[in-house]
Symmetry: C2
Subunit: 201 residues, 2 copies
């Protein structure tokens, strides 16, 4: 599935690019509120002035961080499904394999969006919109995959999408807390059952 380019066509200046990369790492690993703009600028090898010139403020930087994270996750997930999924049913289950691989190799601290939402109580914060958009997109994607797998009836497909996204979130949270052995495997098994029921005659 040839994509035009890997991700965003980097309209960012070199300084802005370094800032966003540093912010992404620091925000995810240490938390949004706990990380100051001074540290971000220092870690990016850039002055605070550049940060404020490029992004306007910390809130806008938070939103940019979440939007880019969203883009990368969407690209990762769709490419994984296109590359590893076979028939329609396997494509649904492949989303859980993609999740396992994503968390294994880069994100042991759970869902960056859920973590961000925990630190952004204000519903009007620009970063919150990015969070809800990400969750809505995932549910929509799962809806399409589920419908293609045979849950043709809209009601059944809706319900399946609700179930699949719930399983995704549950697995991510438990993985992040490190209290369960193989939460993604558990979720995948439950997804298999839900899928069978939704596509049964």
């Amino acid at each position: 599935m040839s994509r035009v380019s890997t991700a965003p066509p980097d309209e960012l200046t070199p300084g802005a690019r370094k800032i966003l990369d540093a912010a992404a790492t620091l925000f995810y690993e240490r938390g949004i509120t706990a990380v100051g703009v001074d540290l971000i600028a220092k870690e990016a090898g850039v002055t605070k002035k550049t940060l404020y010139d490029r992004f306007g403020g910390k809130d806008a930087l938070i939103a940019a961080y979440l939007r880019e994270r969203d883009q990368r996750w969407r690209a990762w997930l769709t490419e994984w499904v296109d590359g590893h999924g076979g028939d329609a049913r396997e494509r649904v289950l492949a989303t859980f394999d993609a999740l396992a691989e994503w968390m294994l190799r880069r994100d042991p601290r759970g869902c960056g969006f859920v973590n961000a939402a925990a630190e952004l109580p204000d519903p009007a914060h620009p970063g919150r919109r990015a969070v809800t958009e990400q969750k809505r997109w995932l549910r929509g994607y799962l809806y399409e995959l589920g419908a293609a797998a045979g849950a043709g009836d809209p009601d059944r497909a809706q319900r399946l999408a609700d179930e699949l996204s719930l399983l995704h979130e549950g697995a991510t949270v438990l993985h992040g807390l490190g209290v369960a052995d193989d939460p993604v495997g558990t979720a995948r098994a439950l997804a298999e059952e839900a899928l069978e029921r939704a596509t049964a005659p």
Copy 2:
């Protein structure tokens, strides 16, 4: 199920009690890092000196907040199950009704422990232990309920407990993000299926 007492027998001094109450509200509603000790003391109608005399520091106060939250949740859940559950199967499903009621009446911002973990990256933080203990306890409780409901085989009961706790977490997260209509209902329906499978001959 006669409990010795409702919760902790309030060994706290009046000042400490007010501090813990104010901290609980502020930490949950605004986030842990975003709330300073000055604000907590002011909101509790107490001086900072009292706060530091009683709790030692912010980190210890965070841990106390999470421990007490854990105690209340355990009491709420077990009492709900004892009061509303009928047979063993209904007792398992009652945990989801308890969750729905809990979140409806007091906690629209998702799981306080998951949110706290998002702000406490350091695994050695005393608050983190409270989080993992809470999750472990819930899984253990669900294991007992599941085993009593007929999942006698240890392997099946273990798997059922994994599934049920995953459904709990998924429902709580989706509820907190406000992107799904009735995540707890979805989780309860999935739990019903998992329960039937686990207790089938």
